[in-house]
Amino acid sequence: MTRKGRRLALIAIAGVVLAASAGLVLSALNDTIVFFSGPTELVQTPPPPDKRLRLGGLVETGSVARSGASVRFEVTDGAHKIPVVFSGLLPDLFREGQGVIAEGRLGADGVFTADSVLAKHDETYMPKEVADTLKKQGTWKGGTN
């Protein structure tokens, strides 16, 4: 092969790999992105069924109940509440009245089935999405964040 031919072969291979991975990235971004919303948004504009999303807000005080492997609680932003069912152990920092993010799907019955639940990491940290939602709803009591 000539020098030019070799270079062209390399460029062709590189082009194929790059095009393939660009395709992978674009299709994956279309299919796997998860949008974040608060209870009010979910109530006002219900998402299409089986769409994965993240629900963020505060855990309603007195709403947590465990039965066997699954646990139920409500996520609130002060205006609306969404019941959540989760099969698993709640994170250490999960507490009533505190910020939480649940990821999963909203069923037709209005119950959110979560497959993962995230709570804040320490005393001063609240998931940013939750803090922003609360600020938007006017129920933010936190500090300077």
């Binding site: 072969a9 992978l24 796997t32 992105i33 949008f35 994170p91 990821e103 320490d122 005393e123 999405e129």
Partner: protein
């Protein structure tokens, strides 16, 4: 007094860094050996003064000096001594101090062991190191001073984040920083080469050991962080595709690519421009990682304080170094002369493919990590990109790369023979197919992906040693000759085989622990039990136990197989009084390479405990793989041809035909 001395030492270190960044560079332009010689002394002095500052902060922590704001916020007098020491870098300011300490350590090592580098190159490299040091020392002093005093001093501190009160904190951050910061040497060499406008095989020979050392530490650091998250967070996961984890994965991928392209450059003088670009990228991604983790852009256990001024400061450092080096690259890359020719099917071609796949994989991780941040900054929309995205993009690229791994070392330089290489791999391929078939059978044909991954893993594990088998004429020559040849092989050949094999081991562990993970969650009272993966887990007793600065709620379990007690395991909820925070202390029972993972959830008022048990087959391979990889790296590093600072082989040895 000690704190002020530490603060002052940092200022002196900054002054030395400024001198190191300017005088040697000037000297190199004028060809003045005295001015160039300044670099060595300033680099060593910097290490001395930053070391003093670090010692001062450590002293304040050990003595619980609560007149220092940093100590108050992150320590407590009842904290065990080990966490008083590791707590020094368990916070924003201290961790940045560790960052510059390690930077100075690398600079001083170049100064001390780089005596046989060409004088101009050494001066330029240390000058670039000086710039990086100047930027981060400025940042420490201006925006995150660990020595800020507090008046009046409180009587007690606020304790360290309980998640960090673990032996992992002693190991994970230093290793990770040794990796991150180690790439600054490759970066400095690259920028120095661009300044000189000249680069050759010797350059690659000097860069390779530094890159290898950084890569080795980064590998260990990432693996250690993963194991820490596995046992401490109580979720039993080993990788979450969290932006913070991705921030360490990206430099690792770029660094791995750099290791391989530097090989081409050393042996064949090809890929010069590309190698220089990769060296810049690897360190840029390390800086990006530092920015993502330390700026407060992301909220995670790694981000300690949210202060917009700090984020902006690191962003400026980022822009200056990445922008500046890329601009220099654009200006000067054209002047670097291209080297040897090679056919697409050749060792060089294989290494180019390796680089292509590694950099595209880096790019997919980059997009997935930064897209949500960019989208929020531009449109305010909030999205999250999680494991499904990375599995769909990074996964196929990584698998394609792994399939290619065993072929690479079997291809000759310049022009290789793919058919010949494939013939050398038929044993590995046969065993891999058999392994895949066994996995498919055991799996009950529920999915094809996991058995396929098992086959790929087996192919990599066995195929990695095909080059050794070939070069020692295994089974084709008498055993004695094979052994003699085996002993005569260069250590770097062994190193490559082990490093590649480690990849396969890790893939096997990831596949098995993900695909054949069995999980069960139940509410248990003492005396009750449940079955998981053919074992019975009996809750024998619960109780409360006091620790130095925490209280454990302990649950003790018996593990029974076929009615016979085979193990006992303890799992606990640890409540830290000062921060009113709970952590999960998972109980682990190891069976060979597999583990039973027991963690506790909520504790009910009626004495019941939510218990989660997970059977994780071959899970330990996930971390043994990186250990084997690092071992391979260490073997290569010990190769006489690569020894740090080695100018040239003492005598030219005849290389066996590769």
């Amino acid at each position: 007094m000690i704190a002020e001395a530490g603060h002052y030492a940092l200022v002196l270190a900054l002054a030395l860094a400024l001198i190191q960044g300017t005088v040697p560079l000037w000297g190199a332009r004028r060809g003045d050996p005295v001015l160039m010689g300044v670099a060595g002394g300033t680099a060593l002095g910097q290490l001395l003064f930053i070391g003093l500052a670090f010692a001062a902060l450590t002293t304040a922590y050990v003595a619980s000096d609560f007149s220092l704001l940093n100590v108050v916020e992150n320590s407590h007098s009842a904290k065990p001594l080990i966490y008083k020491i590791t707590g020094v870098w368990g916070n924003h300011e201290g961790s940045m101090l560790l960052w510059v300490l390690i930077l100075a350590l690398f600079g001083a090592t170049v100064a001390a062991f780089g005596v046989n580098l060409p004088m101009r190159l050494r001066a330029d490299v240390l000058a670039v190191q000086g710039w990086v040091g100047t930027a981060f020392l400025l940042y420490l002093l201006a925006a995150s001073n660990p020595f800020t005093r507090l008046d009046p001093a409180p009587l007690e501190g606020r304790d360290l984040n309980p998640l960090l009160q673990d032996i992992g904190l002693a190991v994970h951050p230093p290793l990770l920083y040794l990796g991150y910061v180690g790439f600054s040497i490759a970066f400095a060499f690259a920028v120095a080469a661009l300044i000189e406008g000249r680069i050759d095989a010797a350059w690659a020979r000097w860069v390779r050991p530094w890159t290898l050392a950084a890569w080795l530490f980064l590998t260990l650091g990432i693996a250690m962080g993963s194991y820490w998250a596995y046992y401490e967070l109580g979720w039993g996961g080993f990788w979450f595709w969290d932006p913070v984890e991705n921030a360490s994965l990206m430099p690792w991928l770029a660094g791995t690519a750099l290791l391989h392209s530097a090989l081409v450059m050393e042996k064949r003088e090809a890929l010069k421009v590309w190698t220089v670009l990769l060296a810049i990228l690897a360190f840029s991604l390390s800086l990006l990682g530092t920015f993502l983790v330390r700026s407060g852009v992301l909220t995670s256990v790694h981000s300690f304080a949210v202060d917009p001024a700090r984020g902006l400061f690191i962003l400026v450092i980022l822009a200056v170094f990445i922008g500046g080096s890329l601009a220099l690259f654009a200006l000067r890359a054209g002047s670097l002369r291209q080297g040897g020719l090679f056919a697409p099917v050749s060792r060089e071609g294989a290494l180019v493919l390796n680089n292509l796949l590694l950099t595209t994989a880096t790019a997919t991780v980059f997009v997935g990590t930064l897209y949500p941040l960019a989208l929020e900054a531009l449109t305010g929309g909030k999205i999250s990109v999680g494991a499904p995205y990375f599995n769909a993009t990074f996964g196929p690229l990584a698998l394609a790369l792994l399939v290619a791994v065993p072929f690479g070392p079997l291809l000759a330089w310049k022009r290789g023979d793919l058919y010949w290489a494939a013939q050398r791999l038929w044993v590995a391929a046969g065993l891999a197919l058999a392994g895949g078939a066994v996995a498919l059978y055991l799996d009950g044909v529920t999915s094809v992906l996991a058995p396929f991954c098992v086959a790929v893993a087996a192919f990599v594990i066995i195929g990695s040693f095909a080059e050794l088998a070939e070069r020692t004429r295994l089974f084709r020559a008498p055993l004695g000759e094979t052994l003699r040849r085996l002993a005569g092989l260069p250590r770097s050949t062994w190193g490559a085989a082990f490093a590649h094999c480690g990849l396969g081991l890790a893939l096997l562990g990831i596949t098995a622990a993900t695909a054949w993970n069995a999980e069960r969650i139940e509410l248990l009272r003492p005396g009750q039990s449940f079955a998981v993966a053919g074992m019975d887990l009996v809750l024998t007793e619960t109780g409360v136990r006091d620790g130095p600065n925490y209280q454990d709620f302990v649950a003790r379990f018996a593990v029974r197989e076929g009615g016979v007690r085979t193990a006992t395991v303890e799992s606990a909820k640890r409540v830290f009084a000062v921060r009113q925070m709970t952590t999960t202390e998972a109980g682990l029972v190891t069976f060979g390479l597999s583990q039973l993972y027991v963690s506790l959830g909520e504790i009910g008022n009626d004495g019941s405990v939510a218990v989660r048990a997970e059977w994780k087959p071959l899970v330990l391979l996930i971390w043994i793989g990186p250990l084997v990889m690092a071992f391979g790296g260490a073997l290569s590093l010990a190769d006489r041809r690569l020894r740090v600072g080695a100018p040239r082989p003492a005598r030219r040895r005849l290389q066996p035909a590769e």
